[in-house]
C-alpha cells in the first residue's frame, strides 16, 4: 500500500520539478543555447533510466517471488526485439503482451 503522505509529496515534487524543467529556458534563461556537453548527456537520460528500472523487474519479478520465469523473460525479449526492429512502441507492447499471455497459458 502506498503511503498517502508519500503519494502527495511525490505528486507535488514531481509536478514542481517537471514544471521548472519546462520553464527554465523558455521562461528565464532565454535565448542562450545549452552547451553541447550538456545536450550530449541529456540525450541519454531516458535510454539509461528505463532499462535500469526494468532490468531487475524482469530478472527478479515480484509476482513469482523473485525468481526468473520463462513467460516474463520471453515477453521482455519479444517486446525489446520487436521494438528495436520496428521502432514502433505499440508493436512492441503487443508483442510483449501476446507472448506473455501465450507463455503463461503454455507453461
Amino acid at each position: 500500500m502506498i503511503d498517502r503522505w508519500e503519494l502527495w509529496l511525490v505528486i507535488a515534487g514531481l509536478g514542481l520539478g517537471s514544471y521548472a524543467m519546462r520553464f527554465v529556458f523558455m521562461g528565464l534563461v532565454g535565448r542562450r543555447p545549452l552547451p553541447e556537453w550538456a545536450l550530449r548527456h541529456l540525450r541519454y537520460t531516458a535510454v539509461s533510466i528505463f532499462p535500469a528500472l526494468v532490468a531487475p523487474l524482469v530478472v527478479w519479478p515480484e509476482a513469482t517471488g523473485g525468481t526468473l520465469d520463462a513467460p516474463r523473460g520471453l515477453a521482455a525479449l519479444a517486446a525489446l526485439g520487436i521494438g528495436m526492429l520496428t521502432r514502433n512502441v505499440f508493436a512492441a507492447m503487443a508483442a510483449g503482451g501476446g507472448v506473455l499471455f501465450v507463455a503463461l497459458y503454455w507453461f
Binding site: 517537471s18 523558455m26 545549452l34 539509461s48 532499462p51 521494438g83 512492441a92 507492447m93
Partner: protein, 237 residues
C-alpha cells in the same frame, strides 16, 4: 482575432495534434489502470496526471512507490526521466522566449513530447511566422494532446479496479517500459548507454534504498555521451 491567420493556425495545430491522441491514450489508460490497481483513488490518479503531465515519469514514480523506494529516490528517478524537458525548453526558447510572461507560463505547463516535436518542426519549416501565430500553433497542438491525456487517465482509472488479478498486470509496466526503450536504440551510443545501465542496475541491486538505479542511470548517461564523442572523433579523423 487581431492577427490575420491566427485562428487558421490554431486549427491547423489541433489537426496536427489529433493523431497523437491515439498514441498517448493507451498509455493514459494503462497509467489509470495500474494506479487504480496500486490503490490510488480517482481523485489521486487524476491529480497525478493534472499536476505532473508526463507519462513516462508518472509510470516511473508509480513503479518505485509500489517497490517502497524512499521518496527521495522516487523523485530523483522520475525527474531524471523528465530531464529531456530541459532540452525541449531550450529548443523552443529562440521561438517563444519573447512571448508574454503569461503565455510562457501556460506554454511551459503544456510542453509535452508531441507538442514539442510538432512545434519545433513547424517553426523550422516556417521561420517567418509571427509570435501570435507561433503561440496559436503551439496551443493548438497542445489542446487535443493534453485533453486526451487527462481523459484517457480517467477512463483507465475508472475501469482499473474491475480487472481481475489473473491478467498478469504485474508485468504490464515492465513491458511498457521495454516497449518505450526499444525504439530509442537508434545508435551504438544509445545501445551502449542502455547496456551499461542494465549491467549496473543488476549488479548494484543490493545497494540500499534503490540508489542502484540512480547510479545505473548516471553510468548509462556518461557511457552514451562518451561513445557518441568517440564515434564523432572517428568520423572526423
Amino acid at each position: 482575432m487581431p492577427h490575420p491567420g491566427q485562428k487558421a493556425t490554431f486549427l491547423r495545430g489541433i489537426l496536427d495534434g489529433l493523431p497523437f491522441v491515439l498514441v498517448s491514450a493507451p498509455f493514459g489508460i494503462l497509467f489509470g489502470v495500474l494506479a487504480a490497481e496500486a490503490g490510488l483513488n480517482l481523485f489521486e490518479i487524476l491529480s497525478f496526471s493534472l499536476v505532473v503531465v508526463a507519462g513516462a515519469a508518472q509510470f516511473t514514480a508509480l513503479q518505485l512507490m509500489m517497490d517502497n523506494a524512499p521518496t527521495i529516490v522516487v523523485l530523483a528517478s522520475a525527474l531524471a526521466v523528465n530531464l529531456r524537458l530541459v532540452m525541449y525548453s531550450a529548443g523552443l526558447a529562440p521561438h517563444l522566449g519573447r512571448a508574454s510572461l503569461k503565455a510562457r507560463l501556460a506554454a511551459a505547463y503544456l510542453l509535452v513530447d508531441p507538442v514539442y516535436a510538432l512545434s519545433a518542426t513547424r517553426y523550422d519549416a516556417e521561420p517567418d511566422m509571427s509570435m501570435a501565430r507561433k503561440l496559436a500553433y503551439f496551443f493548438g497542438t497542445a489542446a487535443p494532446v493534453i485533453i486526451g491525456w487527462f481523459s484517457s487517465t480517467l477512463v483507465g482509472a475508472a475501469v482499473g479496479t474491475q480487472i481481475p488479478e489473473a491478467y498478469a498486470l504485474d508485468f504490464a509496466l515492465p513491458i511498457a517500459f521495454i516497449a518505450m526503450a526499444g525504439p530509442m536504440m537508434r545508435t551504438a551510443a544509445h545501445m551502449a548507454a542502455a547496456f551499461v545501465a542494465v549491467v549496473l542496475a543488476l549488479s548494484l541491486a543490493w545497494l540500499p534504498y534503490g540508489t542502484g538505479l540512480l547510479v545505473a542511470g548516471l553510468g548509462g548517461m556518461l557511457t552514451g555521451a562518451r561513445v557518441e564523442l568517440l564515434q564523432r572523433q572517428r568520423v572526423e579523423a
